[in-house]
């Protein structure tokens, strides 16, 4: 089996000293030997400095690399490949500064099955990020910030954090395969349940939380040994296929007395089929998380080389719901790499009913902000380029469990920044909607968009700018 490659082979010579394996001879002081000084100087297109450094790193570590944040893959067609085409002569715009535009977003009411569908004031909410990946202060700040603007947060897989429950007017409780800290009381205190079968950053694999972040409180909430490298299961323990899931969904409805909607979150891989199945087995909301989605920690290969872009995932998901007659019955939430109200508006136009933001919300809290510069330097990064969620050494206290660092995350200030950011994003969405002559942000559609690249048009079916035809197959 390939599980254990450290077999019985013995070299016919003494094992090399670790120092030498790690290129210890003549290495530059303070620079890990896997990162050559030619890093930013360019070279072969095939063997770029990044490709070379990756080989060096794997050769020293004997394992794949793990890191947090989101993808470094630069080849995704993004939201920036789409542009809005506001009302001009054929259509009449609404007054951007004066006329109102509805942003109310209802999730999970389409089937008419649950007593309390979620009513959000805005079409944006905070993505599932666990306590464990994030500090308690960060979770609490997100909760208050979201509550202030009438939207919600999601627990993530680490169980229900009391601070977050108290802070969030509306809270989605995530049921991950590992079921950390899951109990009936928490299910019933949630405003919605989210069954997670995957995430955009690392579809096809379970959660990952390195030992540095498995603090006493995290270990207690997850029933894990302290300091252990937590690698969660990818499959749920008690249902092993979408057909069984139909029964599980019924159980959860009974457990919550048919009160709250049930979400299903998936990484975007084959959304055309996956979303149709999710809708057919009976969930109320499907969350599709594109490959640009972030994470606290993941094998880097999965971050960079799995999944499909958010913009194409939304189209496939919407078409899937249309095809199986579930549009209107099942809500569609998009996530993955959303940075601004402009991105949100594009998601809605492509077919999402709402979006959730993870990395963006962390950044609003202070992630990558230019403070504590020495600490960034110790990590070998700098503000604007930090991706060290995995080491738990987050200089600004967002993605860490170290008390000295979490203290840097001020709950009140963070909450206010999140609230203002969400407000600003919503303003951006309405500004675009009104420019397109729409009095409700949910009326944005594909016709309001044009593609700026062949790829974006081919991946989404949005008409290409100028010629007004979708890239034909």
């Amino acid at each position: 089996m390939a599980d254990d490659l450290n077999g019985t082979y013995h070299y016919p010579f003494p094992e090399a000293p670790e120092e030498l394996v790690k290129f210890g001879d003549g290495a530059i002081e303070g620079r890990p030997a896997g990162v050559p000084s030619s890093y930013d100087e360019g070279g072969s297109l095939r063997w770029t400095p990044e490709a070379i450094s990756e080989v060096h790193a794997l050769a020293q570590l004997g394992r794949y690399q793990v890191r947090g944040y989101n993808t470094f893959n630069k080849r995704f067609p993004t939201f920036d490949d789409l542009t809005f085409v506001p009302a001009t002569m054929t259509r009449l715009p609404l007054e951007g500064y004066r006329e109102s535009c509805d942003t109310t977003t209802i999730l999970g009411g389409g089937r008419g099955l649950v007593e309390k569908p979620l009513e959000l004031k805005i079409p944006i909410y905070i993505a599932s990020m666990s306590f464990g990946a994030l500090s308690a202060n960060a979770k609490e700040a997100l909760g208050h910030g979201a509550s202030k603007v009438g939207t919600m947060t999601c627990t993530g897989e680490g169980g229900m954090l009391e601070e977050e429950r108290a802070a969030s007017n509306k809270l989605v409780y995530q049921m991950s395969p590992a079921r950390y800290g899951l109990d009936l009381d928490h299910l019933r205190r949630a405003d919605a349940l989210e069954i997670v079968v995957g995430q955009g950053a690392k579809p096809g694999t379970g959660g990952l939380l390195l030992g540095m972040k498995v603090s006493p409180r995290v270990s207690q909430m997850r029933t894990l040994p302290e300091g252990v490298d937590q690698r969660s299961t990818v499959r749920h323990p008690d249902w092993l296929g979408a057909d069984d899931l139909a029964i599980k969904v019924e159980e959860l409805r009974i457990a919550t007395n048919y009160q709250v909607p049930i979400f299903l979150k998936m990484g975007a891989t084959r959304p055309r089929y996956d979303v149709a199945i999710a809708a057919k087995v009976g969930v109320d909301v499907v969350v599709v998380d594109g490959a640009e989605g972030g994470t606290g920690a993941s094998p880097e290969l999965l971050l960079n080389h799995t999944g499909i872009p958010t913009i194409s995932a939304i189209r496939a998901a919407r078409e899937a719901l249309d095809e199986c007659g579930m549009s209107g019955k099942v809500s569609l939430v998009a996530a993955g790499g959303i940075r601004s109200g402009v991105d949100v508006a594009k998601c809605l136009a492509l077919g999402a009913d709402a979006v959730m933001i993870g990395n963006a919300a962390m950044i609003a809290l202070g992630c990558n902000s230019p403070r504590y510069l020495d600490d960034y330097k110790k990590l070998g990064t700098s503000p604007g380029a930090c991706h060290h969620c995995h080491t738990g050494m987050c200089p600004v206290g967002v993605a860490t469990q170290t008390p000295e660092l979490t203290a840097r995350m001020d709950v009140a200030a963070g909450a206010e920044r999140v609230a203002r950011y969400l407000t600003a994003m919503t303003m951006e969405v309405t500004a675009l909607a009104k420019a397109c002559g729409k009095s409700n942000v949910h009326n944005l559609d594909m016709e309001d968009l044009r593609a700026l690249s062949f790829e974006a048009s081919a991946f989404t079916g949005v008409k290409m700018a100028g010629i007004d035809r979708a890239y034909g197959w």
């Binding site: 394992r63 540095m212 080491t391």
Partner: protein
């Protein structure tokens, strides 16, 4: 007991059945659920202080998310019996299907017959006692709690445990990844006997194998943050 409340399942909507069970549990100490026909999702989220007996066999997730009820299944149970339970006692008269006690946090599951694969998968606490044989991958990634098999165990027993323990008195087909057999101490045996005692299952002649994690899978590489600074 004269005041045993009887509930008929048959072809009724399972939502209605559960509503009736929940309502009856408030007024009666003892419920009998009849004509179960191996239906799924019977007795979900049962409260403390009630005794619910299911006649015949039940389907998936019976007694799931139990918070303290005493549950008895006369014959067999389907998948995920007592999944996520917090407290209480579930007895299965016959065979327990796949993943019984999945992610349970407390309480006891007692299986009189054999158990299917992945019993106690991802369990976080509590005890599972199986009088017969446990299926493959028993206790897969169990975080805590004990699985005690008086019979044998299937392949990949105690696969990838965290802190749970699997005790097997009979033959073990094969051990799972990172599973290690440890000689139990007298105190540890006494602890297990204390769990078996109320069930009348103590037998001093048993040759216990106590299986715990070898902890090889606990650490990806190192608890040292510097190991992860490469990227």
């Amino acid at each position: 007991m004269s005041s045993r409340y009887v509930i008929e399942v048959g072809n009724r909507h399972i939502k209605d059945v559960n509503e009736e069970i929940q309502a009856a549990a408030k007024a009666h100490h003892s419920l009998l659920v009849r004509n179960t026909l191996s239906r799924h999702n019977l007795g979900i989220g049962l409260p403390k202080g009630v005794d619910v007996a299911f006649e015949g066999s039940v389907g998936y997730y019976c007694g799931g998310l139990n918070t303290g009820a005493i549950v008895t299944v006369e014959d067999d149970a389907g998948w995920g019996t007592g999944e996520g339970m917090d407290a209480g006692h579930i007895t299965i008269g016959g065979y327990a299907g796949m993943s019984a006690g999945a992610a349970m946090r407390g309480g006891t599951i007692h299986v009189r017959g054999d158990a299917g694969p992945r019993i106690g998968v991802a369990m976080k606490g509590g005890n599972i006692i199986v009088e017969g044989k446990i299926g493959s991958q028993a206790g897969f990634m169990a975080h805590a709690g004990k699985i005690i098999a008086l019979g044998g165990a299937g392949a990949s027993c105690a696969d990838a445990l965290w802190q749970g323990e699997v005790w097997v008195a009979g033959e073990i087909e094969s051990l799972g990844v990172d599973a290690v057999v440890k000689e139990p101490t007298a105190e540890q045996v006494a602890e297990v006997d204390a769990i078996l005692e109320p069930l009348g299952l103590v037998d001093s002649a048993r040759n216990w194998r106590r299986i715990v994690s070898g902890q090889r899978l606990w650490y990806f590489e190192s608890r040292d943050a510097n190991a992860w600074l490469m990227i």
